[in-house]
């Protein structure tokens, strides 16, 4: 108990500290290094003697950092919700096929438009971006609506999971057909979208993104009682007074919305949503989702910032695609968690 209390009281400030350090590093480091003091001046609006630094920071690194934090937070929380709901350590935000729905929406826009109207969306600039975002949200929410409808009609949690996975496969196969009949340039654009990126947004849009990801992430705290009971299994949960169907609906709605938003703005980011909940559970040994959601928020932001930092380490000319970095960070985390847990009955 002593040990546990100690851990609790130290860990939150510690992880917040790490978060701040990573934040500063994200702003300072890259192909051009900016001194930390200048970083503070620029971000706080005091301006800088070096106009190039100011441009780099405000136009590129600041929005990128904000987006990474918001996305990491949202995906961490969404992943935690899914893992608890389905009582499956391998579940993640994409398990219900919501990001596949996004991909399908984006696929329609990027791949079909070229065929029908004879132009490529990448040439449309800002309108093209907006069209991609809207298509992605449309696809994701369409799948989310189907899942919610099914979850309302069907009793078991497992059937919802299976149907979600099946919808994912279906949309992937439709995307496969679309790709097959598309122009090479469009397929290239689609592949690039699928690699994910935190750097597609201006500073204003990054702030907007932060708001619409952080608010639902924090709203998830209100689901913590339901999640605690759901973790005991449907029967115990309902015996303890929980309306299972309503709780499940709210949990899927919350996780689905978070996933849909992140996927629309950043593309399908893999592994963060699956690895972060494991880290959150590792940091504080509790089954109370109030603390787990807080942990997932902080650790999600930390993980995403770390990935973002690694994606543009000094010495690499261009940025690496974010998904290749997340896999490198996420896979070892998941493996080590499973390895550590092998002693417990798992």
């Amino acid at each position: 108990m002593q040990n546990n209390l100690l851990r609790k009281s130290i860990l939150i400030p510690l992880s917040l500290g790490i978060l701040l350090i990573l934040l500063a590093l994200n702003l300072a480091m890259g192909s051009v290094s900016v001194p930390i003091s200048e970083v503070f001046d620029i971000v706080l609006g005091h301006g800088s003697s070096n106009i190039i630094w100011e441009n780099i920071l405000l136009r590129t690194r600041l929005p990128q950092t904000i987006v990474a934090m918001g996305a990491g937070m949202a995906l961490g929380v969404a992943g935690l919700l899914m893992q608890t709901l389905f009582r499956n350590p391998l579940a993640g935000p994409s398990v219900l096929g919501i990001s596949s729905g996004s991909s399908l929406g984006v696929g329609f826009v990027l791949l079909i438009a070229g065929q029908f109207w004879g132009f490529s969306f990448s040439r449309l600039g800002i309108w093209g971006d907006l069209a991609v975002i809207i298509a992605s949200l449309g696809g994701a929410f369409a799948v989310l609506a189907i899942i919610l409808f099914i979850s309302h009609k069907i009793g078991g949690t497992l059937s919802v999971l299976i149907i979600g996975v099946m919808i994912g496969y279906l949309s992937n196969s439709v995307v496969g057909v679309l790709k097959f009949y598309s122009m090479e340039e469009d397929v290239h654009n689609y592949v690039i979208w699928g690699l994910g990126s935190f750097s597609r947004m201006s500073v204003d849009r990054a702030y907007l993104f932060a708001i619409i990801t952080i608010i639902p992430s924090l709203l998830a705290l209100f689901l913590s009682k339901s999640l605690n009971l759901m973790a005991l299994g449907d029967r115990y949960a309902s015996n303890l007074g929980l309306k299972i169907k309503r709780a499940r609906l709210l949990i899927i709605l919350c996780a689905g919305t978070l996933t849909a938003i992140v996927t629309a703005f950043c593309g399908p980011i893999i592994f963060i949503g699956m690895a972060v909940p494991h880290l959150a559970k590792l940091v504080s040994r509790t089954s109370n989702h109030f603390y787990l959601i807080c942990n997932a928020c902080i650790l999600g932001a930390i993980t995403a910032l770390l990935c973002n930092l690694l994606a543009r380490l000094p010495g690499i000319d261009s940025e690496l695609p974010i998904n290749s970095v997340t896999a490198f960070i996420g896979a070892p985390v998941v493996i080590s968690v499973i390895w550590k847990k092998r002693k417990e009955n798992f």
């Binding site: 108990m1 546990n4 009582r87 350590p89 705290l221 209100f222 913590s224 009682k225 605690n228 009971l229 973790a231 005991l232 299994g233 029967r235 115990y236 309902s238 015996n239 303890l240 007074g241 929980l242 309306k243 299972i244 559970k281 040994r285 509790t286 089954s287 109370n288 109030f290 417990e344 009955n345 798992f346």
Partner: protein, 347 residues
């Protein structure tokens, strides 16, 4: 007489069109420990689930506090019935204290925070179940018996007049079974809660429960105190045709062995009983020697070499180990066998 907490009237249970059991009627008075007995497949779990409101009933009614269970909301029901299930749920990273704390959920607010009174209830429940020394341990690190105690503490913390347990002793070793049953007995005595549990441990149920429910295929539910049911020979009828014999006097089962020969034995006492049991397992029935046989076995009590083998009136072997003796008897069986025209059939 106590007021009836739960009433089951003409209840039919099953899934969809499939009727598992019908015409069930029973009551649970306040403060009694009730054991539900029945073979696998008679619908024990289905009955429990129907009472808990986990599955729709096909007919009849289940009333708790004179209210239909099916019409109560989850919240109202959660303050009346607490359950302990057989399913082995894995709750990642949950400590005993947290689990028992979740038992207070029907009474906590939106965020599920425990107030001071809730915390007192939680620690009292853990103390009553003798699990408070493990309160910070993870559920996954507990033994099966401790785990079961933690879940019973959770049900206690839920503060309901009725606790329903589906085979709480199923995965436990004998000492843990006795401990859990005694714990439940104590809870019923001290807290005036009613407890309904299903079990296969007939001997423990006979000793510890106030009332038994016997569920059998195609027969109405038989209920009554263990002693009354013994008087009515209810158990013999229940286990008919199953190759087992229920001994009313001891409340124990005897296994029926096929017997293909019989030997005569002189003697009595504990050694005699043991010899009879050892031979019976080998398919040899023991009959009382009546001075007519030429070959017999003899048991001397309190002697170092208790067992002797007589063939044609001569003692050819004495033995202290029953195992060696029985093997010898098996070898000499042709000489020892007592022919009998009647059908050989014993307990």
């Amino acid at each position: 007489m106590n007021k009836n907490l739960l009433q089951i009237k003409n209840l039919s249970i099953g899934y969809g069109n499939k009727l598992v059991a019908g015409n069930l009627s029973a009551t649970i008075p306040a403060g009694e420990l009730i054991c539900l007995l029945g073979s696998n497949g008679t619908g024990k779990s289905t009955l429990m689930r129907s009472i808990c409101g986990f599955q729709p009933i096909l007919g009849g009614s289940v009333l708790i506090d004179d209210l239909e269970v099916n019409q109560l909301s989850e919240k109202e029901l959660s303050k009346r019935i607490a359950v302990v299930l057989t399913d082995r749920v894995v709750v990642p990273n949950a400590s005993v204290q947290e689990l028992v704390g979740y038992g207070r959920s029907p009474y906590t607010g939106m965020m599920g925070r425990l107030n001071a009174a809730d915390k007192i209830m939680v620690s009292r429940a853990m103390q009553e179940c003798g699990i408070d020394h493990k309160k910070d341990s993870l559920l996954s690190s507990l033994s099966d018996g401790e785990r079961q105690k933690a879940f019973i503490a959770k049900a206690l913390a839920q503060d309901t007049p009725l606790i329903i347990l589906d085979e709480p002793t199923a995965f436990l070793d004998l000492p843990a079974r006795v401990e859990i049953m005694q714990l439940l007995r104590d809870i019923a005595n001290t807290s005036q809660k009613s407890i309904l549990m299903s079990t296969h441990d007939l001997d423990l149920a006979l000793q510890l429960s106030d009332r038994l429910w016997l569920l059998q295929n195609g027969v109405p539910l038989i209920t009554g105190s263990p002693e009354d049911l013994l008087l009515q020979n209810a158990f013999q009828r229940m286990f008919q045709h199953k190759g087992i014999v229920f001994d009313n006097k001891t409340g124990l089962f005897k296994v029926m062995h096929d017997q293909h020969s019989q030997v005569a034995v002189k003697g009595h006492g504990f050694e005699y009983v043991l010899l009879r049991r050892a031979l019976s397992r080998k398919g040899i029935k023991v009959i009382r020697a009546n001075e007519e046989e030429s070959s017999w076995l003899e048991v001397k009590n309190d002697s170092k070499e208790a067992f002797s083998l007589f063939v044609d009136g001569e003692c050819i072997q004495t033995e202290s180990s029953l195992e060696v003796f029985v093997n010898q008897v098996m070898k000499m069986q042709v000489y020892l066998e007592v022919k009998s025209s009647c059908t050989i059939f014993s307990e």
